[in-house]
C-alpha cells in the first residue's frame, strides 16, 4: 500500500488530528494526572498539603506475605483440635497485630491458606479486599469473554437468515442493551430475590418444589455467578450487532460459490464465514474484555461487593476508595495497576495472535 498515492503526512494528521487532540485533552491528560496522584497521598477533599509518598500506595495494595504455623499442642505434645475435629492453630492476629517480632506482617490479613502435613501455610495480603477484587475480575473476564462472544455469534448467525419478520427478532434480542445496565440491575434484583424472586419461583415450579430456594445475590457461592449470567444476558445483543455488521460485509457470491461446491453448513461456516469475520472477532474479543475489566455498575447496584467480598471488582474498589472513602490517590493507584495489567494482557494477546509471516 505504500505508494505515493496513499502517502500524505498532512492529510493523515488533518483527519486523525481532531480525534487525537480531543482524546489527548480529555482522556490521556487526566490519566497522566491520575498516574501522578498515585505517587502522592492526595485526598479527595482535605486541608492537608499533598505529599509525595513514592510507591507506598502500590505496596499497600500489592503487599503479600507467607506465614507457616505449626498446630497448637498441649503440654504432652498432643495436637489440639477444635470441637469439630479440625486441627487448631494459633490465632493469626497474634502475628499480624502489634507483634514486634513480625513487623513485616503488621496489618496483613489471611487471603487463603493451605495445609501441608501438620503445618498450615497462610498467604497474607496487606489488602485482602483488593486481592479478592483482582481474582473476581479475572474470573469474570475469563467466563464472560468467551461465553458472551460465542453466544453473540450464534445469535447473529440465527438472525442473519432471510426470514419474514426477522427484524422483529433483531430488535427484541437487542432490547436488554437498550435499557441502561443500572436499570437492568434493579430489575434483576427482583428476579434474584431469595424469598419470592421469579427465578426461585420458576425453578420451584419446574421441579415441583424440589429445588431449594437460593438467595442468589446473598450467597457468596452464587453471587458472582448470578452477576455474570445477568451481564451476559444484558450485553450479548450489543456484540450480536457487531458480529452482524461483520457478517454483512461477506459477499453473497462467496456463499453462492460454496453452495455450488456442495459445501455443508459447517464447511460454509468454517471456510467462508469465519475467515471473513477475523477482524470482527478481534474487535468483539477486545471490546468484551475491556468492558468486563471495567465491571462496576452491576456491582454497585446489586451487591456493593458483598457478600463477604465475593463480588468485589477492581473498578468497584477504585470508585469505592476514590470517592466513597475520599482516598483519590488510592483509587488512582488501582486504576494505574488495572491499566498496566490489561495492557500487558493485550500485548500478550497480540503477540499470541500475531499474523505469522
Amino acid at each position: 500500500m505504500a505508494s505515493k498515492f496513499t502517502r500524505s503526512n498532512s492529510t493523515g494528521w488533518l483527519m486523525a488530528g481532531p480525534a487525537a487532540v480531543l482524546m489527548g485533552l480529555f482522556i490521556v491528560l487526566p490519566f497522566l494526572f491520575a498516574i501522578g496522584l498515585s505517587f502522592t497521598n492526595q485526598r479527595l477533599i482535605s486541608p492537608n498539603p499533598t505529599q509525595f509518598v513514592g510507591l507506598s500506595n502500590y505496596s499497600q495494595l500489592l503487599g503479600i506475605g507467607l506465614l507457616t504455623l505449626e498446630p497448637e499442642r498441649d503440654d504432652a505434645g498432643e495436637i489440639l483440635r477444635e470441637e469439630d475435629g479440625t486441627v487448631s492453630y494459633p490465632a493469626l492476629r497474634g502475628y499480624t497485630r502489634n507483634n514486634p517480632d513480625y513487623p513485616q506482617f503488621d496489618g496483613m490479613r489471611e487471603w487463603f491458606s493451605v495445609s501441608l502435613g501438620e503445618s498450615r501455610t497462610y498467604v497474607l495480603a496487606r489488602d485482602v479486599v483488593f486481592a479478592k477484587a483482582v481474582v473476581n475480575t479475572i474470573i469474570f473476564v475469563l467466563v464472560v469473554a468467551p461465553v458472551q462472544g460465542g453466544l453473540a455469534l450464534v445469535l447473529a448467525l440465527l438472525i442473519n437468515q432471510k426470514l419474514r419478520g426477522i427484524n422483529v427478532f433483531r430488535a427484541i434480542y437487542f432490547m436488554p442493551v437498550v435499557v441502561s445496565i443500572v436499570v437492568v440491575s434493579l430489575l434483576w434484583r427482583f428476579i434474584y430475590d431469595g424469598q419470592s424472586g421469579l427465578l426461585n419461583n420458576l425453578l420451584g415450579a419446574l421441579t415441583f418444589g424440589a429445588f431449594p430456594r437460593i438467595d442468589w445475590l446473598g450467597n457468596p457461592s452464587t453471587a458472582l455467578g448470578a452477576i455474570i449470567a445477568m451481564s451476559i444476558w444484558q450485553a450479548v445483543g450489543f456484540h450480536m450487532v457487531i458480529w452482524l455488521s461483520g457478517l454483512q460485509t461477506i459477499s453473497p457470491s462467496l456463499y453462492e460459490a460454496a453452495a455450488i461446491e456442495g459445501a455443508s453448513k459447517w464447511q460454509t461456516f468454517r471456510y467462508v464465514t469465519w475467515p471473513g469475520l477475523r477482524n470482527t472477532a478481534v474487535l468483539v474479543l477486545i471490546v468484551i474484555t475491556m468492558q468486563a475489566f471495567a465491571l462496576f455498575a452491576q456491582i454497585d447496584v446489586m451487591t456493593s461487593g458483598g457478600p463477604l467480598d465475593s463480588t468485589q471488582t477492581i473498578v468497584f474498589q477504585a470508585v469505592e476508595r476514590g470517592y466513597g472513602k475520599q482516598d483519590i490517590s488510592g483509587g488512582s493507584t488501582i486504576s494505574v495497576i488495572l491499566f498496566v495489567f490489561v495492557l500487558a494482557i493485550s500485548l500478550l494477546q497480540r503477540w499470541l495472535t500475531r499474523e505469522k509471516k
Binding site: 492476629r93 434484583r189 431469595g194 424469598q195 419470592s196 472513602k325 475520599q326
Partner: protein, 418 residues
C-alpha cells in the same frame, strides 16, 4: 444575525434594568430535596417569604436528588463552584467544615437554645449547621403482635433489656406467622448502617471510634464489648431472625404486609405504617447494658466557605428557624420538629399525637454519630464490617481489620486535626 444581536442587546438591557431597580444581592442555595414535591414546596415557601421580608438579599435555590447530593457538593467544591447556602447531613458536616467547604454560622445562639441536641451541628466548638428537624428510629410493631406473643410493652422508663428483646424475637419466630421476626432494613445500604446500627454497638459499650481522642478505633470497635455486639449481630442472622440480604421492596413494604413482626425503622416511614395498621406501636430501643441508644442528626443548613455574603446566608437560615416552618416540615414529610413549641403545633408530634413518642425518643435516647471529619470513612468501614459479620465472617478478625483501616485513614489525614 441581526435578530441574534438584537436578542443579546435586549437581554443585556433587561439584566441591567433588573439589577438597577433592586439593589439586592443574590444568594445561591443548594438543597437535597429534588423529587420530593412536598419538601420542595415548603423550602420554596420559606425562600419566597424571606425574599419578601427584606430588601437586601434574594435567595435562589437549586435542588438535587438526595442520592446524588453529597457527590454533587464535593464535585462542586473541587471545581470551585459552591453556592452561598447549602444543606448538609449532620454527621458529614465536620468533614466539610474541616475541608474548608463551610464556615461557622453567624446566628444568635439564644434562638436555638431550646432546639433538640441532635439538630445542632457543632464542630471545633463552633456552630456550623442547624437543623429544622431531627429524625429518630424506633422498633415498630403492633399491639396485637405483642399480645399474641405474650410480651410486655416496653416504655421509655423501662425499655426492653437485650434478653427481653431476644426473647421477643424468638417468640415471633416460633409463632411461625412471619417470614422473619425482624426487619432491620439491610436493603438500605449506605449511611443507614452506621445511623441505625451503631447505636446497638454503643448500647453494648463499644463505639465506631474512641470519642475521648478521636485518633483511634482500637479497643472500642474491637474490644470485648464490640465483640459481644458482633456475636449478637451475627446471631440475628444465623438464628434466622433477620435477613443479611433483603430485597428493597421488602424493606419498603414488608412490615406493612405482615412479613415481619418487628421493624427497625425511622419516623419518616411511620406515616405509611399508621395507614396500614390501626394498632401500631413505636417502641424505644432495647438496652444492651449501657442504656438504650438511637442515632441523631438529620439534614441541616449551613453556609459555604465560598460565600462572599455569609451575613446574608446566615440571615436566611435564621429566618428559617421559625416554629411555623418547623411545624410545616413536620406535617409535610413526617419529620420531628426541632423544638417542643413547634411540636405542639403539629398533628403528629403534639402531646398525644401518634408520633409524639419519637420526640421523646429523640430527647431521651439520641446520640450523635462521632463528630469527626473521619466519620465519612469510618462509617463506610463500619458498614462493610457489619455486612461481612452478618454474612458469617469471623467477628474478631473483621472488627480488627475495620480498626486497622480506620486507624490507617486517621493517620493518613494527620489525625484530622485532633
Amino acid at each position: 444575525m441581526t435578530s441574534l444581536r438584537l436578542l443579546a442587546t435586549s437581554i443585556a438591557i433587561t439584566t441591567a434594568m433588573s439589577s438597577a431597580t433592586f439593589a439586592q444581592t443574590t444568594l445561591t442555595m443548594w438543597y437535597h430535596g429534588a423529587g420530593n414535591e412536598v419538601e420542595s414546596n415548603i423550602v420554596n415557601q420559606i425562600i419566597s417569604d424571606f425574599n419578601a421580608s427584606q430588601s437586601d438579599w434574594v435567595v435562589e435555590m437549586q435542588s438535587f436528588p438526595q442520592a446524588a447530593y453529597n457527590d454533587s457538593v464535593v464535585a462542586g467544591a473541587l471545581a470551585g463552584n459552591l453556592p452561598d447556602i447549602l444543606d448538609v447531613d449532620g454527621p458529614v458536616m465536620p468533614n466539610w467544615a474541616w475541608s474548608g467547604y463551610m464556615q461557622p454560622l453567624q446566628i444568635d445562639e439564644a434562638k436555638i437554645a431550646n432546639y433538640l441536641p441532635g439538630t445542632k451541628g457543632v464542630w471545633n466548638d463552633q456552630l456550623y449547621s442547624i437543623g429544622l428537624w431531627d429524625a429518630a428510629i424506633s422498633l415498630v410493631t403492633r399491639k396485637s403482635y405483642l399480645d399474641e406473643l405474650g410480651l410486655r410493652v416496653p416504655t421509655l422508663e423501662q425499655p426492653w433489656t437485650g434478653d427481653e428483646f431476644m426473647d421477643a424475637l424468638a417468640k415471633a419466630k416460633a409463632s411461625g406467622k412471619f417470614d422473619y421476626a425482624l426487619d432491620l432494613g439491610t436493603a438500605w445500604t449506605g449511611e443507614w448502617y452506621p445511623y441505625a446500627f451503631s447505636p446497638f454497638l454503643q448500647s453494648f459499650g463499644g463505639d465506631i471510634v474512641d470519642r475521648s481522642t478521636y485518633t483511634t478505633a482500637e479497643g472500642v470497635l474491637n474490644g470485648d464489648a464490640a465483640v459481644e455486639f458482633g456475636n449478637w449481630w451475627q446471631g440475628l442472622f444465623n438464628d434466622g431472625y433477620a435477613q443479611a440480604t433483603q430485597d428493597p421492596a421488602d424493606r419498603d413494604n414488608g412490615f406493612n404486609s405482615g412479613k415481619y413482626a418487628f421493624s427497625w425503622n425511622g419516623n419518616w416511614a411511620a406515616l405509611g405504617t399508621l395507614d396500614a395498621y390501626d394498632d401500631v406501636l413505636f417502641l424505644p430501643a432495647p438496652d444492651f447494658g449501657n442504656g438504650p441508644k438511637i442515632g441523631a442528626a438529620s439534614w441541616q443548613f449551613g453556609v459555604s466557605a465560598a460565600s462572599e455574603h455569609p451575613e446574608g446566608a446566615s440571615a436566611f437560615i435564621e429566618f428559617a428557624l421559625q416554629d411555623k416552618y418547623l411545624a410545616e416540615f413536620s406535617n409535610g414529610i413526617g419529620l420531628i420538629p426541632a423544638t417542643a413549641s413547634a411540636a405542639a403545633m403539629t398533628e403528629n408530634y403534639k402531646d398525644g399525637g401518634p408520633l409524639a413518642v419519637f420526640f421523646d425518643l429523640s430527647e431521651a435516647q439520641a446520640l450523635v454519630r462521632p463528630v469527626t471529619p473521619g466519620y465519612v470513612v469510618a462509617a463506610k468501614v463500619f458498614e462493610k464490617a457489619l455486612a461481612d459479620i452478618a454474612n458469617g465472617a469471623d467477628v474478631q478478625d473483621t472488627l480488627d481489620s475495620a480498626v486497622d483501616e480506620i486507624d490507617a485513614d486517621i493517620a493518613k489525614n494527620n489525625s484530622y486535626g485532633f
